[in-house]
């Protein structure tokens, strides 16, 4: 998990939403609604029923027509963090103590939550096991969030593939998860942390989130073994989620072909996300979370 010094360096940072979304309560984000803040926004014609106290009498004196003075409204921003906690996200080598991929994803999720909570946003986090944390406000929720993440960790024998994951847990597909989530989600900023390695795809789920007025931003987390596989020889690849086997004889040509296919996969996902106004960032989980957050995401305008 992120050390305290890193968390402190996240103080003062806040998410940059792509567009204004109506909030739930009064907050520090500009709302698309007109409200009661002190910042002037616009005029509109007086209509019967309007509060006469909001008529701008100076304008009436000059134009002899009543105009209502509108002010900006400031509401909170709901930040949705969707953390994929499927077995593929927690995969690790048999000889590894912990999954680097899951560690990275959890750290990123924690950082996202910390930024949201410390900047006064409303936080909701949900994992692919339908476990939900929030909605929460305020930095005091951080400690309980850590426990929430730790509960999502799979047993070691499942994470390293010794026991098929489908015997221990029910595998949730991304599309069904996100479509369900979009049904009752408040409009806001959505950060998805996932490897998107789902045979059923992700398009329907992302479309559903977009339709629920969520600005979808993607942190695509892939491990080094997925980005640059070092396997060779005659192998039987075993999918830790489905326990499906795939016989393969790896050589240079096949590795090259895999890299080409992976590049196509990430490019398609990035294009899909950006076409909908979202942000996309591909993460090698061997990189440090601090570097990803404080350098890469700030540089790409995720946070300021």
């Amino acid at each position: 998990m992120l050390v305290e010094s890193i968390l402190r360096s996240l103080n003062g940072l806040r998410f940059v939403p792509q567009r204004r979304r109506p909030g739930v309560t009064t907050g520090e984000r500009r709302s698309p609604r007109r409200g009661r803040s002190l910042e002037f926004a616009d005029y509109r014609d007086y209509t019967p029923g309007d509060d006469p106290r909001r008529v701008d009498w100076n304008v009436y004196a000059r134009l002899e027509r009543p105009y209502i003075k509108l002010y900006e409204d400031e509401e909170d921003l709901t930040v949705h963090v969707l953390l994929d906690s499927s077995p593929s996200m927690q995969w690790r080598e048999e000889n590894e103590q912990a999954s680097p991929k899951w560690n990275c994803a959890a750290q990123l999720a924690m950082a996202m939550c910390y930024i949201a909570l410390t900047s006064g946003d409303r936080l909701v986090i949900e994992t692919s096991t339908k476990a939900r944390f929030g909605p929460k406000r305020g930095a005091t929720a951080i400690s309980s969030f850590i426990e929430f993440i730790e509960r999502e960790a799979l047993p070691a024998e499942v994470a390293d593939g010794r026991v098929p994951a489908n015997r221990v847990t029910q595998v949730t597909h991304l599309n069904s998860w996100w479509k369900r989530y979009a049904l009752d989600a408040k409009p806001g900023l959505c950060v998805i942390i996932s490897d998107f390695l789902d045979p059923e795809g992700y398009v329907e789920g992302l479309n559903a989130l977009g339709a629920g007025r969520l600005d979808v931003n993607i942190l695509h987390t892939l491990s080094t073994a997925e980005l640059d596989p070092e396997f060779s020889g005659d192998l039987r690849l075993r999918d830790i989620e489905t326990a499906a086997a795939q016989d393969i004889s790896l050589d240079d040509a096949l590795i090259t072909q895999y890299r080409r296919r992976l590049n196509q996969f990430t490019t398609e996902l990035a294009d899909f996300c950006r076409r909908r106004g979202g942000k996309y960032h591909l993460i090698n989980t061997s990189e440090s979370a601090e570097k990803i957050i404080l350098r890469d995401l700030r540089k790409e305008g995720w946070i300021i």
Binding site: F231, S232, G233, I240, E241, Q246
Partner: protein, 611 residues
């Protein structure tokens, strides 16, 4: 290329079980991955699970099949027809004499000859035997009737030329004895590899004979003679330098004695001519003289550029042989070293008036000078006799230097005079009828007057001259009657020659090393120079030097007369089968090692993680 064992091709069928075993053996290593989604898409792109893909991917299987192919190819014993100059049993006479040290074809003629014989070994067919005889002063076989080329090359590599003249007659006798029959394919070939020096008109050799001439030119200068003699002004050294080449030459010659330079001179010697040079007034006390060619324009053989002679005049013993003529006695005396024999029918004195060291009286009487040593044979007038006897059956003999190594038991004489010998003349051998050999020292007033050995029978009436004991008896008698001043060593020793020296003699070599002589004599005469032999109080120098006009004549002979005919030096093209199964076996071994290494370490091109 042809094959000798086509049936072995059936072994190629072993490839089938290898492939089957591979297919059965193929067990994939299991690896868990986060998702097979992308891999499935990749495999859909390229149907990677086909049988051909499995086989193509597996380098180990390929190497196993290649190993099998190499072994099968080796088993069918393929061979290629190679042009060969030789077939059957081969006898190589490799000239290792002094002339082969000539450097007209650098580094030396012998290295050229070694290279030529090496090529012969390489051309040798699988069933052809080869023997190599190194022809030097004492020819010997360095490889005997072997088909093992490694052994032949090893023997050839160890062969070294010796600074001695070649003994071709002994070499040809050895070759004839060795070649005995014919080779496996019925042919026998003798190849003479030589420069032809000292190899003229050799004896007939059985089978085919070929001559491989060695050498380029015959430019050589040699000290063909070096001697010293006593004159009224001390010693005089005589040196003769011969230009054996085809070009006139200017030569710097130096003469040293006991490491002191006596004189040096530049001589202009026309081609084929000699120049003589005499140096007078040399101190008679010097022990040896060395002559050397220090500089010359065209000189390719260096071993004959140095000659040594020791001042051994005092060791010469003068013998007067008074005899009506006896070939056995003359021959027995002639072979003894440091002996100057004067044969006469009537008594005479030395030219300088001095008495002889030894008088041998063979049936002839004379008045001997005072203090004379004499060997008296047969009829004599010094001692009275009383009849004769003929029964000479051996009875007993005394221990005496004259009888050292002499076996008298089988010696008989038909008529022996019965001598009334004085007391000092002791009978050494007695027969059943009386003494047949006397020896003694005639006493004088202050010193002995002389020594006498008496054989009281004529050699013609005895079988003694036909016995092995005769030359030994003569040699023992001469050494006892006139003992040499120093050790009895011949004045001129050739390199490699064995010198007969008493046991435990200490010999100091020219390089300063000291060697004790064992019972077999002294054989370490490889160095040219002056040796010093010490035995008890005697200290005698002797010189070992190369002096062989025939070996110094190094002009290469393009032809050689062997048995009255001239063997061809042309290569007669023949064909020999050279099998290549050995190379194929090596390839199979390398493939097997590679396969093992890859199995242990993984495919080098795919150094990724293995499970």
């Amino acid at each position: 290329m042809n094959i000798l064992n086509p049936v072995a091709l059936l072994a190629g069928l072993l490839a089938i079980p290898i492939i089957l075993l591979y297919l059965l053996r193929l067990q994939r290593r299991e690896q868990s991955v986060s998702s097979t989604m992308l891999w499935q898409q990749v495999i859909l792109d390229r149907e990677a699970n086909t049988l051909w893909q499995k086989l193509r991917r597996n380098l180990l299987l390929l190497l196993q099949l290649l190993t099998l192919a190499a072994l099968v190819l080796a088993l069918i014993r393929p061979y290629i027809n190679m042009p060969s100059t030789l077939s059957g049993r081969l006898m190589v006479l490799l000239d290792g004499s002094a002339s082969m040290l000539a450097t007209d074809s650098p580094p030396s003629r012998f290295e050229d000859a070694r290279s030529a014989v090496g090529k012969l070994i390489d051309e040798l067919g699988p069933n052809n035997e080869m023997s190599i005889i190194l022809v030097d002063g004492s020819p010997h076989a360095i490889a005997s009737a072997t088909t093992n080329k490694s052994d032949l090359h090893a023997a050839l590599d160890h062969a070294q030329p010796s600074p001695s003249p070649s003994n071709w007659n002994a070499a040809i006798a050895l070759a004839s004895a060795s070649s005995g029959g014919t080779g496996a394919d019925g042919a026998s070939t003798t190849v003479v590899v030589s420069d032809g020096a000292n190899a003229e008109d050799l004896q007939q050799l059985a089978g085919n004979v070929r001559f491989l001439p060695i050498g380029v030119n015959g430019d050589n200068l040699a000290i063909s003679n070096l001697s010293i003699r006593k004159t009224t002004r001390g010693l005089a050294a005589f040196i003769r330098v011969t230009n054996l080449g085809s070009q006139d030459d200017k030569v710097l010659v130096s003469v040293r004695s006991d490491h002191t330079l006596l004189d040096a001179r530049t001589l202009n010697i026309p081609a084929g001519q000699s120049e003589n040079w005499t140096i007078n007034g040399i101190d008679p006390q010097i022990s040896w003289v060395r002559g050397s060619i220090d500089e010359a324009g065209h000189n390719t053989l260096l071993i004959d550029d140095v000659a040594y002679v020791v001042n051994g005049i005092s060791n010469i013993r003068h013998v007067l042989l008074l005899s009506p003529g006896n070939r056995f006695l003359e021959q027995a005396l002639a072979v003894l070293p440091n002996l100057q024999v004067t044969r006469a029918i009537t008594p005479s004195a030395q030219p300088d008036g001095k008495p002889y060291d030894l008088y041998v009286l063979d049936g002839v009487s004379m008045t001997l000078p005072v203090r004379a040593n004499a060997m008296v044979i047969g009829n004599q007038s010094f001692f009275t006799t009383s009849g004769t006897f003929s029964n000479t059956a051996f009875a007993r003999s005394e221990q005496h230097p004259v009888l050292d190594s002499v076996d008298w038991r089988s010696i008989n004489a038909s008529e022996v005079r019965r001598v009334n010998a004085p007391a000092w003349l002791k009978p050494l051998v007695e027969s059943t009828s009386g003494p047949v050999l006397f020896a003694g020292e005639m006493p004088g007033e202050s010193a002995p007057l002389g020594r006498v050995v008496l054989l009281p029978f004529a050699l013609r009436s005895s079988d003694l001259p036909l016995q092995v004991a005769f030359p030994i008896l003569i040699a023992n008698s001469v050494d006892w009657l006139a003992p040499p001043q120093g050790l009895n060593i011949a004045a001129s020793i050739k390199p490699g020659e064995v010198v007969a020296l008493p046991r435990n003699t200490i010999v100091t070599l020219p390089d300063g090393n000291r060697v004790a002589v064992d019972q077999r004599g002294f054989a370490q005469t490889d160095q040219s120079g002056v040796y010093h032999a010490s035995y008890k109080e005697l200290n005698t120098p002797f010189a070992v030097g190369f002096s062989s006009p025939a070996e110094s004549q190094i002009t290469p002979h393009p032809d050689l007369q062997i048995g009255g005919s001239t063997p061809s030096s042309e290569v007669v093209p023949q064909s020999s089968q050279r099998e290549i199964w050995g190379w194929l076996a090596v390839v199979a071994l390398l493939l097997l090692i590679t396969e093992w290494w890859i199995y242990q370490r993984g495919v080098p091109a795919l150094q990724r993680k293995k499970f």
